[in-house]
Subunit: 196 residues, 2 copies
Amino acid sequence: MDLTKTRRRGAELESALLDAAWAELEDVGYPAFGYDGVAARAGTSKPVLYRRWPAKVDLVLAALQHGGLFDKRALPDTGSLRGDILTALRDFNAARSGFMAVISVYLAGIHADTGLSPAELRDRLLAGSTNTGRKLLERAAGRGEIPARNWPSGIATLPSDLVRHDLVMTLKPLPDARILEIVDDIWLPLVRLRHP
Amino acid sequence: MDLTKTRRRGAELESALLDAAWAELEDVGYPAFGYDGVAARAGTSKPVLYRRWPAKVDLVLAALQHGGLFDKRALPDTGSLRGDILTALRDFNAARSGFMAVISVYLAGIHADTGLSPAELRDRLLAGSTNTGRKLLERAAGRGEIPARNWPSGIATLPSDLVRHDLVMTLKPLPDARILEIVDDIWLPLVRLRHP
DNA sequence: GTCCTTAGATACGGTGACGTTTCTTAATGC
DNA sequence: GCATTAAGAAACGTCACCGTATCTAAGGAC
């Protein structure tokens, strides 16, 4: 809190509120996420939050958006399929805490009426994987690196599926060796196959 | 409640308590799991539960065990690798609600002191996959179906990793077509590769 | 039948979070 | 300077759940 100013207003206030909401969501997950926690973290009072986001789900959605979860990621272009997919997976791995926040929101939807459309959240969870893998494959085929093929979606999404799986199962970032295994031992051999 | 008997005792009572606890855990997940809910579901009073399981985690663990989560599954033996893995994955898919209950317990461990050792729970989550895939592969190699090889663990666990991933991401059982894709388009081509 | 254990019902006090109200006063625009 | 808005502090009532205490009486052993 700036000593020359005691109260925040406008965009500065909202930014601070959403920073706090995002941090709280990442920190405690959806079930324990609440107005008291966010207010304390933001150094504000609850009416300030309720005025803008009258229901928990409003605040959660705003926090997710503020956290950049809905941002599109640039498609890596390293000149090789291996480089592209490694970059994409490492980026995702490094940004995992946002993913984990969304997972806690998403799984909470089993048991509670979050008001969030599961399809919307699912789209966000899978964003960058339904398209990224396929785009990288098509580009590589265009370069002649791999045979052109109409890829089953399960192959296009395989690397990110596995990263996602590990993030949930271990609650830790993947060791780089695991990323290399996914790429070098599993995905690349598969996409390099000649297919009838 | 049987009209000729009004109170349960002994093994009958415990079984009913754990049935209820398990059902509650599957229904509401770990964060919302509590003594009031279990007591209501079991048609009992809270002291009855507290007498046996003084802390929530005791009750959760007992419910998990009662739900058969810690049971060993028989290794399928259909005479072919494809048959074996399809059977294993379909069984797991059918039994998924137990898996989802464990996931909610496991993820809750991020944010709460469950008193459960993450390593223990992780072992249970991965049970049947660190070993099953490898055993099926070794058996198939022994039959001459596939080249013998020292399989990277990521390949041995690949089918169940993907099933697990989909269960979490979709909150639904996998369509059989997806299981067939995992087996026929991804795993079998990979394990049939000649490897230097 | 008696005696003992404890199941089941009920009540209780405490706690934490929610959602709202009240109040003071900082911040902004005129 | 004044008027308006709303930030921030604090308090409040409600509710759900926890964990415990009390009581009645069912169930089982003898």
